[in-house]
C-alpha cells in the first residue's frame, strides 16, 4: 500500500519560509486552496494578500524581486500565466527576478474544467528565456521542491500537487537530475508529475508480459537534459513513449522529439497526453482515462511500438487511486 502524505506543500513551505526572511508568501485569493492558510495565520508579516488581480501580482512581485526579496506566488498554475502573460515576461522573466511561481492543479488534476486546467503551462513557460520549469511527481518532490526552487538564480515555475499526495520516492528533488526508475531495453517511457504514478501502475503487468521498460521520471523540464534522454532512447529496441499531464504539443513529447531529432537518433515516438484538445471538468482518473493519459493508454502505446499484444487489460493494472471527493485534506474551493 502506497504511503499517502497530507498537504506536503503546507509544511514544506512553512519550514523553508521561516528560515528565510527574504522569502515572501503572496496569494491571489486562493490561500487555503494553495495550502498556505496556516502560514498566513501564523506568519502574517511574511504574507501578502494581492487579491484577485494577477496582473498586478506578477508585476508587484517583480518589484519585490528588485528590492531583493524572493516572493513565492501561490495560485492555480493557469492563473499565473494565461491572463498575466505580458507581466510574466516583462516584470519577471526578462529581468530574471527571483520569483517562485507555485502553480497548483496542473493539467487535468482539477475538475474545474477549461478555465482551471493548466494544460499548456509547460509549453508557455519553457519557451520563455530565463525561466526554469520544475514539476513535482510525489510527496517527497513537493516537500523538496520549495527549497530547491529557491536556489534558482532567476524565476522558476513549479507544478505543485496538493492534498493527499502519494510518496513514491525517498530522495529529494534535485534540479537537473532525472530519476531512472527502471532500466529495461525494449521501450523507453518518459513521465513527469502524476503520470509517473500511472506508469508505475502498469509496471508489474508489463514485466509479467515480458516487456522490458526503461522508465524515466522528469522533475526538471527546463533546463531539459536532452543528452541523457538521447542516451536512454539509444539503449532501447522499439522506441519511446512520453506520457504527460499536458498537451503533447509543446510539452515533454515535444521536448523528447526535439532531442531525438537534433541528435539524429531515429526512434519511433508515441506522445501521450492531451492531443491538441481542451479538456472538460471531471475527476482525475476519469479525465486521464477519457483523454488517453492513464496506465492502460500507456500499455496500448507500448503495444503499438513493439507490435505485440501484451494481453493486459484494466484488471491487470494496479488499482486506480481514487481520491475521496470530500476528503478532509482537500481544500473546499476548486
Amino acid at each position: 500500500m502506497m504511503e499517502m502524505v497530507n498537504r506536503p506543500y503546507a509544511a514544506a513551505f512553512e519550514a523553508h519560509a521561516v528560515q528565510h526572511p527574504e522569502v515572501l508568501c503572496l496569494s491571489a485569493d486562493l490561500t487555503s486552496s494553495c495550502e498556505i492558510d496556516g502560514f498566513r495565520d501564523r506568519h502574517p508579516g511574511q504574507f501578502l494578500s494581492l487579491g484577485m488581480a494577477e496582473q498586478n501580482m506578477l508585476s508587484f512581485a517583480g518589484g519585490l524581486g528588485l528590492a531583493g526579496f524572493r516572493p513565492f506566488l501561490h495560485s492555480f498554475g493557469v492563473f499565473l500565466y494565461r491572463r498575466p502573460y505580458d507581466q510574466l515576461v516583462a516584470s519577471i522573466a526578462y529581468p530574471r527576478r527571483k520569483v517562485r511561481l507555485m502553480g497548483f492543479l496542473p493539467g487535468v488534476t482539477t475538475p474545474g474544467g477549461m478555465t482551471h486546467q493548466a494544460i499548456e503551462d509547460i509549453a508557455v513557460m519553457r519557451t520563455l528565456p530565463n525561466m526554469t520549469v520544475l514539476e513535482a511527481g510525489d510527496a517527497t518532490e513537493v516537500e523538496s521542491i520549495v527549497a530547491e526552487a529557491d536556489t534558482v538564480d532567476g524565476p522558476v515555475y513549479c507544478r505543485i500537487l496538493r492534498g493527499a499526495v502519494p510518496r513514491l520516492f525517498d530522495t529529494p528533488l534535485r534540479i537537473g537530475q532525472m530519476r531512472v526508475l527502471s532500466e529495461g531495453d525494449d521501450v523507453l517511457v518518459v513521465t513527469a508529475g502524476v503520470t509517473t504514478e500511472e506508469a508505475i501502475r502498469a509496471r508489474s503487468a508489463l514485466a509479467g508480459a515480458g516487456v522490458s521498460v526503461r522508465h524515466l521520471h522528469l522533475n526538471t523540464l527546463k533546463p531539459f537534459d536532452a543528452a541523457q534522454i538521447v542516451d536512454h532512447a539509444a539503449s532501447v529496441r522499439h522506441g519511446v513513449v512520453t506520457l504527460e499531464n499536458h498537451l503533447v504539443n509543446g510539452g515533454i513529447g515535444s521536448m523528447v522529439a526535439e532531442a531525438l531529432a537534433e541528435a539524429g537518433l531515429a526512434r519511433r515516438l508515441v506522445r501521450l497526453g492531451l492531443q491538441d484538445t481542451y479538456a472538460h471538468g471531471g475527476s482525475r482518473p476519469y479525465l486521464m482515462r477519457h483523454y488517453g493519459m492513464d496506465a492502460l493508454a500507456l500499455v496500448r502505446a507500448i503495444e503499438r511500438l513493439t507490435g505485440q499484444s501484451t494481453g493486459i487489460d484494466e484488471g491487470a493494472l494496479e488499482a486506480v487511486r481514487v481520491e475521496a471527493v470530500h476528503s478532509a485534506v482537500k481544500a473546499e474551493a476548486l
Partner: protein
C-alpha cells in the same frame, strides 16, 4: 544632487533638444516634450533625491539582455544615481517618453549630448522605446500599465528594508485605460504603501488621437480617490503648482499627482497636426521646413540647419 540650471531652464532645454532631434530626423515624440518638459525637469532637478550618476556620460552600446550567460548585465538606472537606502527611485512608465527623458538627462548633466545622437541607432542602448538598459530606465515599461505595479512592489520592499528613499513613477494618462493601473492603485492603498507616488502627464492624448475619441475615461481624479489614492491636481506647466501638488501629504496611501498639460505647450504650431500628435512625422519637406521655422521662433532658438535635398 542639484543641477546648476533652474528647472525652467531644464524644461526649455528639453523642448529645444527634442525639437532639434525631431526636425533633424524627420520624426519624433515631439508632443510628449511639450506636455512633459516641466514634469521631467521638476523630477530630476528638484523633486527627487537622486545621487550622482554611476554610468558613463556617453551611453555604452547595447550589451545584451539579462541571462545567466551575461553576468555583466546592467540596467540604465545608474543614470539616476546609486541604489541605496536613502535615494529615490524613478520609473518612466510610458517608455515612449524615452526621447524626452534622454533630453532631460542631458539637461541635468547625467548624459552627454552625443547620447541623443545614438537614439534609435542599431546596436545602441539609447532605444526609441526605453528599455531596461536605456539611460535612466530601470525596468521595461513599454507595455503600458505595468509600471505602477512594479513600483508598488519595490516600494513595499523598500519600506520593509527600512529605506527612507521613495519610489516615484512618471505616468501617462492613457495608462488609466489599462485595468492593471487600477489593480496597482488598489493594492498600494490596501497595503498602505505611502513611500510611493506618481506624477501623471494628463495630456489627454494617446496613439490614436484624443483620448475622448478613443476611449472615454471619465473623472480620473475621483476614480483614483475611490481606489484608495490621495490625489492632487495641478497645471503641469506651472512649477509652483507642481511643487505644491507633489508636497501633498499622503500618509498610509499612495499619492497620484495629476498634472494637466497641453500637448502643444511651447510649440503651438503643432496644433495644425491635432489630434495626431503621438508621433510627429512631417508629411512633406514643406511642412518640415515650416515647422522648423515656426517652432524655432516659438522656442527662441535658431532653426535646425537642414541639408538641401
Amino acid at each position: 544632487m542639484r543641477n546648476e540650471k533652474s528647472t525652467e531652464e531644464v524644461a526649455r532645454g528639453i523642448r529645444a533638444r527634442v525639437f532639434e532631434h525631431t526636425i533633424r530626423n524627420n520624426g519624433g515624440y515631439l508632443s510628449q516634450a511639450c506636455s512633459a518638459a516641466e514634469q521631467l525637469a521638476f523630477l530630476y532637478n528638484e523633486a527627487l533625491n537622486l545621487g550622482p550618476s554611476t554610468m558613463p556620460l556617453v551611453p555604452p552600446p547595447f550589451a545584451g539582455v539579462p541571462s545567466a550567460a551575461n553576468p555583466g548585465y546592467r540596467t540604465g538606472a545608474g543614470y539616476n544615481g546609486p541604489f541605496d537606502a536613502v535615494h529615490d527611485r524613478l520609473f518612466i512608465a510610458p517608455a515612449h517618453y524615452a526621447l524626452v527623458a534622454y533630453a532631460c538627462l542631458i539637461e541635468v548633466g547625467r548624459m552627454a549630448p552625443e547620447g541623443l545622437e545614438m537614439f534609435n541607432r542599431d546596436g545602441s542602448s539609447v532605444e526609441m522605446i526605453g528599455a531596461e538598459h536605456s539611460p535612466g530606465m530601470e525596468v521595461h515599461n513599454g507595455t503600458l500599465g505595468i509600471g505602477l505595479s512594479t513600483a508598488a512592489g519595490l516600494a513595499w520592499g523598500r519600506r520593509r528594508l527600512g529605506h527612507t528613499g521613495r519610489v516615484c513613477v512618471f505616468m501617462s494618462d492613457g495608462e488609466v485605460q489599462e485595468g492593471q493601473t487600477w489593480e496597482a492603485v488598489q493594492a498600494a492603498a490596501h497595503h498602505g504603501i505611502d513611500n510611493l507616488w506618481a506624477l501623471m502627464d494628463v495630456n489627454r492624448q494617446q496613439c490614436d488621437g484624443a483620448m475622448d475619441d478613443v476611449m472615454t475615461v471619465g473623472d480620473v481624479a475621483t476614480k483614483f480617490r475611490d481606489f484608495g489614492a490621495v490625489v492632487a491636481e495641478c497645471d503641469a506647466h506651472d512649477l509652483p503648482a507642481l511643487r505644491a501638488a507633489a508636497a501633498t501629504p499622503h500618509p498610509g496611501r499612495p499619492l497620484i499627482v495629476l498634472a494637466h498639460s497641453r500637448p502643444t505647450q511651447g510649440m503651438e504650431s503643432l496644433m495644425s497636426r491635432f489630434p495626431r500628435l503621438h508621433y510627429v512625422r512631417f508629411k512633406s519637406e514643406e511642412e518640415r521646413a515650416r515647422m522648423n521655422a515656426e517652432i524655432a521662433a516659438e522656442l527662441g532658438v535658431a532653426p535646425v540647419p537642414l541639408e538641401t535635398q
